[in-house]
Amino acid sequence: MTTTEKPDYKVIGTRPIRPDGVEKVTGKALYGADIHLPDLVQGAVLRSPHAHARILSIDTSAAEAMSGVLAVVTHKDLPVVADKVLDMGEGASTASDMSKNVLAADKALYRGHAVAGVAATNVHDALTALEAIKVEYEVLPPVLNVQDAMREDAPLLDESRHTKTPTGEESDNTSNVAAHNRFEGGDVEAAYAEADIVVEREFDTKMVHQGYIEPHNGTANWNSDGTLTVWTSTQGAFAVRGALAELLQLPVSRIRVIPMEIGGGFGGKIGVYLEPVAALLSRKCGRPVQLTMDRTDVFQATGPTSGGHMKGKLAVKDGKITAAEVSLAFEAGAFPGSPVMAGAMCMLSPYEVENFKVDAYDVVVNKPKVAAYRAPGAPNASFCVEQLIDELARETGVDPLQFRLDNSAHEGTRMITGVAHPRIGQEETVQAAQASDHYNSPIEGPNRGRGVAGGFWFNAGMQSSVVASVNPDGTVNLIEGSTDIGGTRASLAMQLAETLGIEYDSVRPTVVDTDSVGHNDVTGGSRTAYASGQAVYEAGLDIQQQMVARAAQLWECEAEDVEYADGALRHTSDSEKAMTFAELAGKQMETGGPLQGRGSVVARSPGAAFGVHVVDVEVDPDTGKVDILRYTIAQDVGTAVHPAYVEGQMQGGVVQGIGWALNEEYYYGEDGRMENASFLDYRMPTSLDLPMIDTIIVEVPNPGHPFGVRGVGEVPIVPPLAAIANAVHDATGHRFTELPISPRRVVEELHNLQ
């Protein structure tokens, strides 16, 4: 569905095969764990068996003496670093927290927290050596959820931590609450007093993992001249380089990060875990060292996303949402930095709400430090708000999509941050869902129900740079630094081909290491097709401009007499004078030498994404199993560069949301042990659990991008949690306010009702 007239694109909107495709279907593509270097050795990491413990001593002597063991490192091998904030692109952390997370210092703050690293001639020897490291712990009581952590008498993860309050000051008392922020506007109390209906509920979600199939890996070679090369599967090679420079106190130029293919990330492969440990081990043993995680490590010791507790109170008057008071408390894990602020800023953004009071608490608990996960914070917060909106619609007798349309934000509506929306597609997206075949088909049968929900995500801009070299045969090599996690080589090559008016197949993109291209921020925040796309466009314009000058030189005319259009150069008044892109590309030597285009941007107008989802479920009242019968997504994507890859992002995001809604959770014992740290027990959706996922692409072009591109990847995970809860309510009459809506919970809650 295109909502405005689109330019007549030649390449954008087509569905070509990705440049890295053949390597990936034949098993030739090299991911981080696939490299074998000369003299490479393997390592392993010793992890805390306790969720909260003081580390009294670590004795590595026995391990070091073992046959095959080459090096052992602990936190003492890391330099002391300052409390400097490291902005990793999606989520920030201080260098000192990151250092303590990489290898625990005085305290182990979660089960699985890295305590020591070993390098050995093979991985089995390294694993055996871990058993010989003696760590003396003083075990402390853990805090495992935000309510417990916020109690005044709660055990403190950091005895010196005070709360940063909304005024910017620090609280007098020490606390596990790292920060409390507030957004306030209008007069919520007056709005409640005048409201037709007020609904109020509390909600809980559990910690969940991104669930990428490829475990983390890191391979490092530290040369005696103090240069470090790192091979890793990361969403941001430059973010890794920056973090390593801080953590190891090396000049940035001494570190080269080589991004390997990446087996999924979803925000979870931005931070560093293994890379600094591999680097320290390599320095000690003088050989390249490879570390890989097993699945249990991935669950216990990387960065899942927050669970939390939420309270919401919404009011309606004459069909309009007049007030929203929401309090969000999110688990940050062992160190501050939950996505609670993002959740707070997103959850009301699809709507016009004049009176609001939103509190956001960032709370440390004895669980792994959270990382970004696809629209971080927004799914949880929308689980709360979109269910309350569903209730308001029901109570007022208005169709839930119509209710959302009646309250939709549009250009000029201010979000709770005070920022006004530019041209957005919220209304068009709701209308697309209303017009869908799905929404206009009846839902029949016992224990079946339909739910809808909306969602918003900012999308990110940030920095990108690319170089494009024109070859004598008219092809172009595009050198870029954005990790390709799901098709961005293709979407960037397409945008360059479109800009230059040449064939998609004429552009060959390559993702290069940090020595070989200018800075590129992470592939995250749904920014790559948008921001790196803008850099690619600028590189294309740069090439056009240089070609025009060269044509003018050949034709002995002024540059303004030369026109570049549709991959050809023409003299504006002399029709005899014309050259194709390829013809001029073949005349580089005689027109000034090798032709390169450069694009370098700080992209500042990402254009927010809106999604509206419709889902039908069937609930088995005996087993508690919830089946997804049908699912339709409508989403404003600005301009779909590669529609098949856009659909794939929408479908993939939704299915992660379905898992989050119905099955996935970190299940903790009282001792702080995650009891389901395997893919068997942490049950992600399989092909058998799902129907086809229908997509409706809405295109309201982003005025901030030359082709109207908006970020696509994240917003699809925002609505499913609430949409499914609303559908289950429709099917059962019971409102589930705690995730996951697993068979056990469904049976328990439905039977309690009876």
């Binding site: 569905r15 095969i17 990705r18 890295d20 495709g21 053949v22 990936k24 279907v25 034949t26 098993g27 030739k28 593509a29 090299l30 991911y31 764990a33 696939d34 074998h36 089995h124 991104q210 669930g211 990428y212 199939i213 490829e214 475990p215 293919e261 990446i262 087996g263 999924g264 990330g265 979803f266 890989t292 097993d294 699945r295 996690i485 799901g486 098709g487 590669h642 098949a644 890859y645 659909e647 794939g648 992002q649 479908q651 993939g652 995001g653 939704v654 299915v655 992660q656 395997s678 893919f679 068997l680 992600m684 959706p685 399989t686 092909s687 058998l688 799902l690 086809m692 996922i693």
Partner: protein, 160 residues
């Protein structure tokens, strides 16, 4: 070092031999001893299917098979699915249908789907979904994977 055993097997149509320790899985042997890294490790305990290979025509999780068990068997990995530079219809359909995003689960899916289409060329959507339930994909939501397998099943080379 534990004593290494001499194993003879057929790998991707070629008779080979290798040495391996009794504790090494077939996955480890393929990746670390034989340099065939197309077979991926996702969980190392049989729950994700990223390490799927064919052993005497059956799909197995190579992380749950010992290297020594390959003695005398015929093993096919993702590296052996294409015929020279001609892609298998499944590989071609995965590309055309955008059935991969990060691509790390893709080798396992293609190998598992090949086993299905080899024995049941007329498999329908329900059968495909059931068969592939042992392979986890976190990027695609399976929609395009299922479509790719169904499309490949309609191609002559497979159904013939």
């Amino acid at each position: 070092m534990p004593r290494r055993t001499h194993i003879q097997t057929t790998l991707n149509g070629e008779e080979i031999d290798f040495l391996c320790e009794p504790r090494q899985s077939l996955l480890e042997v393929l990746r670390d001893e034989l340099g065939l890294t197309g077979t991926k490790e996702g969980c190392n305990n049989g729950n994700c299917g990223a390490c799927s290979v064919l052993m005497d025509g059956r799909v197995v999780n190579s992380c749950c098979v010992l290297g020594v068990e390959a003695e005398g068997s015929e093993v096919v990995t993702i590296e052996g699915v294409a015929d020279g530079d001609t892609l298998h219809p499944l590989q071609q359909c995965f590309l055309e249908e955008a059935a991969l995003q990060c691509g790390v689960c893709t080798p396992g899916f293609i190998v598992a789907a090949k086993a299905l289409l080899d024995s049941e060329p007329d498999a329908d959507e329900g059968r495909v979904r059931h068969w592939l339930a042992g392979n986890l994909c976190r990027c695609t939501g399976y929609d395009k994977i299922v479509r790719a397998v169904l499309k490949a099943s309609e191609m002559e080379e497979v159904s013939a």
